[in-house]
Amino acid sequence: MAKVTIDGVMIEVPDGTTILQAARMIGERNKADRHVVPPAMCYYTSLKTSGGYCRTCIVKVTKGSDKDPRPMPKPVASCRTAVMDGMEVANTTDPGLVDARNGVVEMLLINHPLDCPICDQAGECHLQDLSYENGKEASRYEFERRTFDPIDIGDTIKLHMTRCILCYRCVKVGEQLTDGRVHGVINRGDVAEISTYIQNAIENDFSGNMIDVCPVGALTDRTFRFASRVWFTKPVNAHRNCGNPRCNGHVVLWLKGNEVLRVTGRKDMWGEVESFICNTCRFDKKDLAAWTVEGPRQIDRHSVINQGHYNLERKQALLTSPAPNVPELAKRKELKDR
């Protein structure tokens, strides 16, 4: 066991636990201590070798351990750094670190499109949350943003590469959950993109989980009917007897009246699904009768949806400068969807 202190809050955790996991344990223990938990855009507990890429989870190790108390010279990725006994960590209490993290968030946003108003993910986007908490008032980036045309990869998934933050989570899903990855990252540097290269369909029993792990609106569900702002839908927990041995059929149904608009996995308070679901449950069972509803879903996530401070104008100002022409974007979206 190792004792670690994050922003002054102590916890004892098994050896080998990462700083991020330890912070989440503190947050689960006491809601008031959630501020010790670093944001994580690329790490995903159930995906092996995930994490390390986005750098939003960086923390300052102010004391290495009891044995070697020297601080670490640079910020470290909390999702990939194991705790040591006696380690002391600053997440929000070190101004230098907060500044560095704001820098990372700014970088993630400079090439991000200005299309929150028309993005399916709006309201449940981790990048939106992150920019709300760590962003600057206005972007200092004045150059043309990188854009890609959206493409359909198969009948169920749409890729808006423009929104992708290259977290690699979907690639790990392809590698670890499906029986053969057909998509990946091509090119390098800031023109790297998620691609199937040739327009391959991603046809696989578990491919739909990519949508759930995507922290932004880059991978979306093409079967999401009447794509609707998530805050106009009602999420309920439900299950069915799924024949697939790797799927337990435990899902969230997003309802409008009695209509199932969308099916997703159940996400925990850190935004990660509790278990991956199969494509049949996700894409093919859009009839409420196919499901046993358990009851309304508490959204516990640290999110703009449930914190009641979701405000499009404010968000827009945060993400963009100058503010885009929202009606114009909405019109473009309508045209595209036709």
């Binding site: 053969g180 990855r181 057909v182 998509h183 990946g184 990252v185 091509i186 090119n187 390098r188 540097g189 023109v191 691609s195 199937t196 290269y197 040739i198 327009q199 391959n200």
Partner: protein, 185 residues
């Protein structure tokens, strides 16, 4: 440059590809060099072989053939081919002129050399002449900074270049008119 522009991601209009017998033998030999189960290590060397046998660039057909020979998924090959700047994902000319544009070369006049070549060939860096003879590629430091400015064509380094020397080289290549690959022995 290839890593900068979006690659050709369709098989439409491109030639079918299969390895020559010698090429296939080389692939097999390359794969056998690595420890058991690690033959994927041969991917980059094999892509060089494929590129040389496909007129200096990697079409989807060529990459798919590599995937088949090596027993890899297609995406694994695309991912790697598109990462490295020596792999051309668009057709190239008979001669690819890799002109170094990095700072130490710049200090010794590479800007002037590139401008001159662009004017002489009537193309920008990254483009191919209409007659398909030359592709001009701006590349990063080729480890020849002491003999700058320089360009590489095939395996050959042309160093200590002047405008006159570059002109002479172009004329000479044009007269010879046969493809050079850096893999040529």
């Amino acid at each position: 440059m290839s890593a900068r522009t979006r690659p050709i991601t369709t098989t439409e209009g491109t030639k079918p590809f299969s390895f020559s017998e010698a090429g296939l033998a080389e692939c097999k030999a390359l794969m056998a060099r690595y420890p058991e189960g690690r033959s994927k290590s041969a991917l980059i060397p094999i892509l060089h072989v494929a590129q040389a046998e496909n007129d200096g660039w990697l079409s989807v057909n060529a990459m798919d053939a590599v995937a088949q020979v090596m027993g890899l998924r297609h995406i694994e090959v695309y991912e790697v081919a598109s990462f490295y700047s020596m792999f051309n994902l668009h057709p190239v000319g008979t001669y690819v002129l890799d002109v170094c544009r990095t700072t130490p070369c710049m200090l010794r006049g590479s800007d002037d050399l590139i401008t001159h070549l662009e004017k002489k060939l009537g193309i920008h860096a990254g483009e191919t002449t209409k007659d398909g003879m030359f592709t001009l590629k701006g590349v990063e430091c080729l480890g020849s900074c002491g003999t700058a400015p320089m360009l590489q064509c095939g395996a050959q380094f042309h160093e200590d270049l002047t405008i006159e020397k570059a002109d002479a080289l172009i004329d000479q290549l044009r007269a010879r008119n046969s493809r050079t690959n850096y893999t040529d022995r």
